[in-house]
């Protein structure tokens, strides 16, 4: 069962080929057996999962099943789940059991899905390799010496290893798309505001967005249909109807205008990645699409702007972790200042501290205009670049990452790690949607093609990705680990 896509599993459940309990048990057994060194889960919740599976089976027996009833999945450990530890990959929240469900979790529960547990991640979603987790790094199922990408590395690895058919991730600067690319799965970052952020532990509020990670675009379409929509508890979620994202999947691509941003094929792009991406783009041409080069002239400002805005917001968002009400508290604080200093020094990891310091500095009196204000101006220019491009083409395509997955421990210097997100980060600054689809394998490590659309063009992106997956089989390739049966 573990080799099936979410769509196939949903069909199998509907046809009565197996029950949700059987499916859940099978996957829990795989996690138990295979996730040791892989380390894709922080918490596995068999009891809750089997309860939910039984409820799903009962609902089906009663004739109340929806399209996702009984489908198992996993949640990045950044989504608050009532009664379950929600750590955000941090020692700070190692003991934090959320007293409420995030809106995404609530919606997935209401849709009858079964959560098997919480997946590993870079601490507070800060990282591109999943090496910044308090719970240790995650291995890439394709090559155990490689990173799975980050920050949703656990979600990507769990799906790639066939432990779950799908997992929820979040993407602030590429945290869904880059690990999806590294692990050979499909990952969608929706338009900012498409999915509620309520109950998602905030990293950078103006950039964070949750999205599905699964084997296929079709699977992602089903999940996005379930989780998207306006939420009164998130003022930045957008009041806009949610279509059935599977409806447009089959639309033919004849006449599709594809733009290739010149800046996404320049210096720093690994030639093997470039050739895989160009080959994938050739496939679209055979499907009737036309391709032209476009320019996103402010691309090179994206990383600097991001590393002003995101740490600024993070420095404020993470102030609540002070040892007073929840989370890590140091032993025997001498006074209030000592309580703050030691609780935070002990509770946060190095990368988190680095970004808090950067953000605190850039917001300081005398620096605000030069950094934060300027970065917001740049952000508007970057957004305008995309809007201008979408006046001319329907979608943009390029690599999701400049290289395939790199080795664990290979990137010691934070800036070289930051440069990993060169093709994904501007998308968050612009607030547009992007999807990464498997488009090749080089040296045993997958390559991701990134497809971008204008605001709220998710249906179009999923259609384009789905048609690519109808014409190719990269998304069906599995690492040896996933082929392993019990």
């Amino acid at each position: 069962m573990h080799d099936k896509t979410l769509t196939e599993l949903a069909a199998g459940l509907a046809a009565g080929e197996f029950s949700s309990r059987e499916l859940t048990q099978a996957l829990l057994a795989r996690i138990d057996r295979l996730d040791g060194d892989l380390n894709s889960f922080i918490s596995v919740t068999p009891e809750q999962a089997l309860d939910a599976a039984d409820q799903a089976d009962a609902a089906r027996a009663a004739g109340n099943a929806g399209p996702l009833t009984g489908v198992p999945l996993a949640l990045k450990d950044i989504f608050c789940t009532q009664g379950v530890k929600t750590s955000a990959g941090s020692k700070m929240l190692d003991t934090f059991v959320a007293p409420y469900d995030a809106t995404v979790v609530e919606k997935l529960r209401a849709a009858g899905t079964v959560s098997l547990g919480k997946t590993n991640m870079d601490e507070f979603a800060m990282g591109s390799s999943n090496e910044n987790s308090f719970y240790g790094p995650v291995q890439n199922p394709w090559d155990r010496a490689a990173v799975p990408g980050g920050s949703s590395g656990g979600s990507a690895a769990a799906v790639a290893a066939g432990l779950v058919p799908a997992a929820m991730g979040t993407d602030t600067g590429g945290s869904i798309r880059q690990p999806a690319a590294f692990c050979g799965i499909t990952g969608l970052k929706p338009t900012y505001g498409r999915v509620s952020r309520y109950g998602i532990i905030a990293y950078a509020s103006s950039l964070d967005q949750a999205g599905p990670m699964a084997r296929t675009a079709e699977d992602c379409a089903r999940l996005l249909t379930a989780i998207a929509g306006h939420d009164l508890r998130d003022s930045t979620s957008v009041a806009r109807g949610v279509p059935d994202y599977t409806e447009e999947l089959a639309a033919p691509l004849a006449g599709l205008k594809i733009g290739l941003p010149r800046e996404y094929f320049g210096e720093g792009l690994d030639p093997t990645v470039e050739s895989a991406v160009r080959e994938a783009i050739g496939v679209f041409e055979t499907l009737g699409a036309t391709v032209r080069e476009v320019s996103l002239p402010h691309t090179h400002f994206a990383i600097p702007a991001y590393y002003v805005i995101a740490p600024a917001e993070a420095s404020s968002n993470l102030s609540r972790y002070d040892g007073v009400r929840f989370g890590h508290r140091c032993d025997a604080p001498a006074d209030l200042t000592d309580l703050y200093k030691r609780s935070r020094a002990e509770g946060f990891g190095e990368e988190v501290k680095r970004r808090i310091l950067i953000g605190t500095h850039t917001l300081s009196e005398g620096f605000f205009d030069a950094y934060y204000k300027k970065a917001q101006q740049v952000r508007r220019l970057i957004r305008q670049d995309f809007l201008d491009a979408f006046d001319e083409v329907d979608v943009l395509m390029g690599p999701a990452s400049p290289t395939p997955a790199f080795d664990l421990g290979a990137k010691k210097d934070p800036v070289s790690m930051y440069l990993q997100d060169i093709y994904t980060i501007a998308i968050n600054l612009a607030g547009i949607p992007g999807i990464s689809v498997p488009a090749g394998i080089v040296g045993g490590r997958p390559i991701g093609l990134q497809i971008l659309g204008t605001h709220f063009a998710e249906a179009r992106l999923l259609n384009v990705a789905h048609q690519f997956q109808q014409a190719t089989d990269w998304h069906l390739r599995r690492p040896a680990l996933a082929e392993e049966t019990l």
Binding site: C80, T86, A98, R197, Y198, S316, L318, R320, V324, F326
Partner: protein, 488 residues
């Protein structure tokens, strides 16, 4: 040297919304600690604020009430600092684009003159929780019930020149917010709190002196006392050749002094930036116009109307419009009796005297406005005389009579206080008094005619007594004179 005091006030007003500014938790005062703090108020991971529309409406109403500019767009910012009763590590406030722009408040000084105090702006923000330092054995308890209560911070220009003006300004703000019903204005419960910026300068100097900000000045009285102390401290310092340092000082009402909390160098860098969780507040013109159209009459307008249309004196108009409750009471009395001047006299005279004696606010008056109006109406139509009216008032105060406009009538009836205007009845009483007072009658007869006027008083007193106060005094007077003179 002659010194001039310069004062600016920052007044924090808790808005009377049912729920908090960014969450659905209740704002009711006095509940069990932490029983009114939801996930959002606790700043739990993942929670997000949702702006309370009622708080926005109230802020705009205030702005309209002080004739302020209402910008189309306002923005919430985060003010970052660590404190245990500040759950998120930042206060959501408005730094750069406040909801209310420049406006002005008219204050009335003791001599009856008025002065306009400019308001720089007013902005919305959330209140913090409370740190409780007692009963925790050397530890500090945190009560987050107050966290997230909506505050409107009203920042004045440095337009006040004395402690009295500052107190008058605070009273004017109090009166506006309570008139608007946007705050209960209860300073004892912290619904209104005040920080005072004080500096002094040699009279005639154009530039301001260095100011100190005094925190925790939470009553009208404290404002005057804190300023008085601070002005004296600063003048003494300057006259001794010292310098005032820019600092934050805390007022200690027990010791009647201000103490340094922190200097400018020790001040926090709050690292303000726009809150990414909240959208800018965009106010539709139609919405603002609607609020303007439905704005209640405010103190200054009411005072003017009391003078111009009801013919009250400036003093009476000022007193009767000072609070919404007072004005509403007065107007109800006026409507019930139909005479503004009589209503004004009674409310400020008999009623205020009784309320002051018992220490009651007017809204708790045992005599309702309709009861009082009914009583005044009986004085005006000569059903009772002034003396009986006081008796009736006392009876109403003690809860006699029904609860409505007829209460006075019931008391008058029950006590037989109806004024006797029947000439025959009065004459009979006079005849009896004359018959019973031969000595006084003899004196009257022997007196010079121009001295007799004064001597009538005795007989009037006797007749009134005989009538148990119900005889019409004018009639008694006239008839007595007639009869006594007939004896001469």
């Amino acid at each position: 040297m002659q010194w001039e005091t310069v004062i600016g006030l920052e007044v924090h007003v808790q808005l009377a919304t049912r729920s908090k500014i960014f969450s659905g938790a209740s704002t009711a005062f006095g509940a069990e600690p932490n029983s009114q703090a939801c996930a959002v108020d606790l700043g739990l991971p993942g929670v997000l604020p949702v702006l309370n529309e009622q708080a926005v409406a109230m802020a705009v109403q205030f702005g309209l009430g002080i004739h302020a500019e209402i910008p189309e767009v306002s923005v919430f910012d985060r003010k970052n600092y660590f404190y245990p009763d500040l759950p998120k590590g930042y206060q959501t406030s408005q730094m750069y684009h406040p909801i209310v722009g420049p406006g002005e408040v008219e204050i009335t000084l003791e001599d009856g003159a008025t002065k306009r105090i400019r308001v720089h702006h007013a902005h919305l923000e959330e209140d913090a929780g409370k740190s409780l330092h007692e009963d925790f054995h050397g530890m500090t308890g945190i009560d987050l019930n107050r966290a997230g209560t909506p505050l409107l911070e009203i920042v004045s220009e440095p337009d006040m020149r004395s402690a009295k003006e500052a107190a008058a300004y605070l009273k004017a703000i109090h009166s506006i917010v309570t008139y608007l019903g946007i705050s209960d204005g209860n300073m004892a419960e912290g619904s209104m709190r005040c920080d005072v910026n004080v500096s002094v300068r040699p009279r005639g100097q154009a530039s301001f002196g260095t100011r100190a900000e005094i925190k925790n000045v939470n009553s009208f009285r404290f404002v005057e006392r804190a300023i008085a102390f601070e002005v004296e401290r600063q003048i003494e310092l300057l006259e001794d050749g010292g310098e005032v340092v820019q600092e934050t000082r805390l007022f200690d009402p027990e010791r009647d002094e201000t103490r340094s909390m922190r200097t400018k160098e020790q001040a926090n860098d709050y690292r303000y930036f726009p809150c990414p969780d909240l959208l800018p507040v965009v106010l539709d013109r139609a919405y603002v116009d609607h609020l303007r159209d439905t704005l209640p009459e405010l103190p200054a307008d009411k005072r003017a109307r009391f003078q111009d249309q009801l013919g009250l004196s400036a003093y009476d108009a000022g007193v009767l419009s000072a609070s919404r409750e007072m004005a509403e009471y007065f107007e109800a009395v006026k409507d019930a009796c139909g005479d503004p001047k009589q209503a004004a006299n009674w409310v400020q005279g008999e009623l205020s005297g009784a309320l002051n004696r018992e220490g009651l606010p007017i809204q708790d008056s045992p005599v309702s406005a309709t009861q009082l109006g009914g009583l005044i109406a009986r004085v005006m139509d000569d059903t009772i005389n002034g003396k009986a009216a006081k008796q009736v008032f006392q009876a109403l105060w003690n809860g006699e009579g029904g609860g409505d406009a007829n209460s006075a009538d019931e008391v008058i009836e029950a006590k037989g206080l109806k004024q006797v205007t029947d000439t025959g009845a009065i004459e009979a009483m006079i005849d009896q008094v004359i018959a019973d007072s031969p000595a006084q009658v003899a004196q009257y007869r022997d007196a010079e005619p121009d001295k007799r006027g004064k001597m009538v008083g005795y007989f009037v007193g006797q007749v009134m007594k005989a009538s148990r106060g119900t005889a019409n005094p004018q009639q008694v007077n006239a008839l007595l004179k007639e009869k006594l003179d007939a004896l001469c």
